[in-house]
């Protein structure tokens, strides 16, 4: 069996440093396995967040060799092991400890988005009739596992720290899922334009590249939302109408 070096960030809000650990590597191992092995062998208090270990819960987000990844879905056989594997916490959120970050901002943002509001039921028994193709349009967005890696790589959040003015790709996807939901009748465009800051996104597509669920975040969610906002608020005829209507 081979041994490999893992360089893991240890620390908290007050600072920290990379620390090297050596552990055995066996067939099929993922980065999260290595972290657990190190935790059981030599660093019992190494903080890491995880749950399903199958890419379905979105808990173990981190930056592996500088790239945003789910640790449970990153196989060691896909990484060069002749040099240390670096594992760092997500950078766009405050540190709690080691690989664990404070992602509570995301949960607060979600509560500010107007909730799902269905049209009245289609049938007397209180049910709706929906075509499969209308369901499929939105299912892509509903695959999101809320790992927040897209938020981590979005430069509006990561570099410019505009957390108060911009909800980030995750919640633009969430808004798109609601706006394009076949039953939803709520209107979120004014919020998108103002409080939720859809205009801050300048379509660099970093979020799409980072998504472990392969959601085409920019093209399928954000751009259509931007178009709806433009149609509503910047269409010259509509602007003129608004002037006359006061």
């Amino acid at each position: 069996m081979a041994r490999a070096i893992f360089s893991i960030w240890r620390g908290d809000q007050s600072g920290g440093a990379m620390q090297d650990y050596v552990t055995e590597v066996s067939e099929g191992m993922v980065v999260l396995d290595a972290v657990h092995q190190i935790q059981a062998e030599s660093a019992h208090d190494l903080a890491v967040r995880w749950n399903c270990k199958a890419g379905k819960c979105g808990s173990c987000s981190a930056e592996v060799n500088g790239k945003p990844r789910l640790m449970c879905m990153t196989r060691l056989s896909d990484l060069p092991l002749d040099e240390p594997v670096t594992i760092e916490p997500m950078q766009a959120f405050p540190s709690i400890r080691d690989l664990v970050t404070d992602v509570s901002w995301n949960f607060e943002v979600k509560t500010k988005i107007k909730k799902f509001t269905p049209r009245p039921p289609d049938a007397a028994d209180g049910t709706w009739r929906i075509a499969q193709e209308d369901v499929e349009r939105v299912q892509e967005f509903r695959k999101c596992i809320e790992c927040f890696l897209c938020q981590d790589v979005c430069h509006v959040l990561r570099d410019h720290h505009l957390h108060d003015a911009f909800i980030g790709p995750r919640f633009l996807v969430y808004t798109a899922a609601l706006e394009m939901h076949p039953l939803d009748v709520e209107d979120r465009l004014a919020d998108l334009k103002e409080a939720h800051g859809v205009g801050y996104c300048n379509i660099t597509k970093c979020c799409t590249k980072s998504c472990p669920e392969h959601i085409t975040i920019t093209d399928n969610a954000i751009i259509p939302l931007k178009e709806r906002v433009v149609d509503r608020f910047y269409d010259p005829v509509r602007r003129l109408l608004r002037v006359f209507q006061g």
């Binding site: 908290d12 066996s26 067939e27 099929g28 191992m29 993922v30 396995d33 935790q39 059981a40 019992h44 208090d45 190494l46 903080a47 890491v48 967040r49 995880w50 749950n51 399903c52 270990k53 199958a54 890419g55 379905k56 819960c57 979105g58 808990s59 879905m73 196989r75 709690i96 400890r97 080691d98 664990v100 404070d102 992602v103 509570s104 949960f107 979600k110 509560t111 909730k115 799902f116 269905p118 039921p121 209180g126 049910t127 709706w128 009739r129 929906i130 075509a131 499969q132 369901v135 939105v138 299912q139 509903r142 695959k143 596992i145 809320e146 609601l178 939901h181 076949p182 039953l183 939803d184």
Partner: protein
């Protein structure tokens, strides 16, 4: 009494998977204040892992379905030791709970006429599972989460409860800590609902995450509640077996529902070799008929791969033991063969089973549209748990309710796939409703400050014992040894002598757990958290083992090598686990109430 951060609610829910969230929504809707505690972040609970669907007799795909058939299927699947009233309530109320999810934003796959589509699953006579591809659990938990955050519920994320607080017998709150800082929290409440899920972490090979350490089972037990059916632990027949690091991760039964077949190393579909008598009339006796069933042919009977989980798991173990296993100690599950029988086969498989495709591709380097998967049994679900009243979900302790996996009764000796998501919706709602009613009739109880200080001191002990960190006192090592012992000695095939050995091993590990040490400080310290979970794991392991020894027969998920047949005597018995006055675990036998003539008539009419 020291200074603890305190929170007061009318109803406190422990756990935020499907059952906890559904309970919280119901209680909050009834106008009481509700707090929810979850061990992880909101929306990460094990419900996300549920793949196949929610069982509900809506009859959208086959109009012969109805609550009576669902009830009879559930009872037969559970080998008739289920709580029949719970099975009746469950079958009757599940359709409404599914429709309600749609009103809250869930989007299920559709039939051609735009209604909710339903799929086949093991042990269900008709296509019954409302689903979203193979990620139904995610859809369910996200829908409840996104609805729940607008209901005025207070969420305490990454917070773990170590003890229930009592005023006399009555449960009046909970004591716990937050992971982030390790600060102790005191929650007082008029009613407490346990919705903590399962016990899978007691075993080495499991589909469950780190959270499933039997917390609710152990909390209830220490508070004096009865646990029942603890011997019935479901080993899901299809978990991944290779590579080693993914061993145990679930492979949905939906693969078989879509036409996937099990083969041994000789290429034989071994499930045809042994079909239990009570399922023979409804099971295909040739491959062609089985495939026609999966294609929706109502005249065809279901393939034997869709027999109940306990049976399929045992057949797989038989193949492996008799030398017909796959290279890595499993058997083959093949969905790729259907390519030749459906248009655009590879795309069809990817569309029907997207997350399975993804999971095998990324974790095992296997393309399931081209080659078979290797699978074997994995510890999946606890049928046993807190004994509850069928109508209200209240336990035998006043003020304490339980719902979802940590409660018992509905599933008897074996749970049918798809009946878990419906269970947590139906009984989550009932628990929330009745806990709120209970809370409205009562006042906050008194919490004894001395108990809080003792509980806090106990919780801190592993950290204060830092000096002695070695293999003997390593919390991860103790947990690992327990898992290996339970896997080896109280697993899928059981023998009294081995289970007696397990009792001794558990006692030894419990002794070591009293000296466990966790280096580091209180802030987000996994070693400390693992140390604190040990007591729960040891408690449920002991309960499972003692109950399994007591039941001297093979029934459902319990297979005894020394008692290989079902016994009509044991079939009348419920095994009850209770904490005795001297602190030891007591096992008693109680006679099951006989089935009512009405229930018996429904079963007779629907299982022929």
């Amino acid at each position: 009494m020291s200074d603890y951060q305190t929170h007061q609610y009318d109803v406190l829910v422990i756990g935020a998977g499907g059952a906890g969230l559904r309970a919280a929504i119901e209680a909050s809707g009834a106008g009481v204040s509700v707090g929810v505690i979850c061990k992880s972040l909101l929306g990460k609970a094990h419900t996300v892992m549920a793949e196949g669907g929610i069982a509900a007799a809506m009859a959208n795909v086959d109009d012969r379905d109805g609550w009576q058939v669902h009830f009879a299927d559930t009872m037969r699947g559970g080998q008739y030791v289920n709580n029949a009233r719970m099975a009746e309530i469950h079958a009757k109320e599940a359709p409404e709970r599914v429709r309600e999810l749609e009103a809250w934003g869930a989007l299920f796959d559709r039939t051609k006429d735009g209604r909710i589509l339903q799929r086949n699953f093991g042990g269900h006579r008709y296509p019954r599972l409302a689903h979203v591809g193979d990620r139904t659990g995610l859809e369910l938990i996200r829908t409840l989460q996104d609805h729940g955050i607008h209901q005025g519920i207070q969420f305490h994320m990454e917070c773990t409860v170590t003890r229930l607080l009592q005023d006399g017998d009555r449960v009046v709150g909970a004591f716990g800590y937050d992971r982030e800082k390790g600060r102790f929290r005191v929650f007082t409440a008029k009613a407490v609902i346990l919705a903590t899920g399962g016990i899978g972490r007691a075993y080495a090979v499991t589909s469950n995450s780190w959270e499933y350490t039997g917390d609710g089972h152990a909390l209830a037990y220490h508070a004096g509640a009865d646990l029942i059916d603890m011997e019935f632990v479901q080993f899901h027949p299809t978990g991944m077996v290779w590579p080693p690091s993914v061993r145990g991760i679930l492979v949905t039964e939906g693969v078989r529902g879509e036409g996937g077949v099990l083969r041994n190393s000789a290429g034989q579909r071994f499930m045809f070799d042994h079909i239990p008598d009570n399922y023979k009339p409804q099971t295909a006796d040739n491959e062609d008929e089985g495939w026609r069933y999966c294609q929706g042919d109502k005249a065809a009977r279901r393939p034997p791969e869709l027999l109940t989980r306990d049976h399929v798991a045992r057949c797989i173990v038989r193949e492996i033991r008799e030398g017909r296993g796959s290279p890595h100690g499993g058997v083959f599950l093949d969905i790729s063969w259907i390519k030749a029988h459906v248009p655009d086969g590879e795309a069809h498989i990817r569309k029907k089973l997207p997350s399975m495709y993804h999971q095998f591709k990324e974790l095992a380097g296997i393309d399931i549209t081209k080659e078979p998967m290797e699978v074997g049994p994995t510890t999946h679900y606890a049928m046993g748990g807190v004994r509850v009243d069928a109508e209200t979900q209240m336990s035998s302790v006043p003020g304490l309710f339980a719902a979802g996996e940590c409660a018992a009764g509905l599933h008897g000796a074996n749970r049918l796939g798809g009946n878990s998501l419906s269970d947590l919706l139906v009984f989550g709602k009932r628990a929330g409703e009745h806990a709120a009613l209970y809370a409205k009739r009562t006042t906050q109880g008194e919490v004894d400050g001395g108990v809080l200080d003792r509980t806090a001191a106990e919780a801190l002990a592993p950290i204060e014992r830092q000096g002695a960190a070695n293999a003997e006192s390593n919390p991860f090592a103790i947990q690992h040894e327990l898992q290996e012992a339970m896997q080896r000695l109280v697993g899928i095939v059981r023998l009294e002598s081995e289970m007696r050995e397990a009792v001794t091993v558990i006692a030894g590990l419990a002794e070591r757990a009293r000296r466990v040490s966790a280096p580091g400080n209180r802030e987000y310290n996994p070693g400390w958290h693992t140390a604190l979970d040990l007591d729960n794991l040891l408690t449920v392991s002991e309960a499972v083992t003692l109950a399994a020894i007591e039941r001297k027969e093979s029934r459902g998920a319990q297979f005894r090598e020394d008692y290989q047949e079902k016994s009509s005597v044991e079939g009348q018995v419920t095994i009850v686990i209770r904490k005795a006055g001297d602190g030891t675990m007591r096992v008693t036998r109680e006679t099951l109430p006989p089935l009512s003539p009405e229930h018996q008539a429904i079963i007779d009419a629907n299982t022929a």
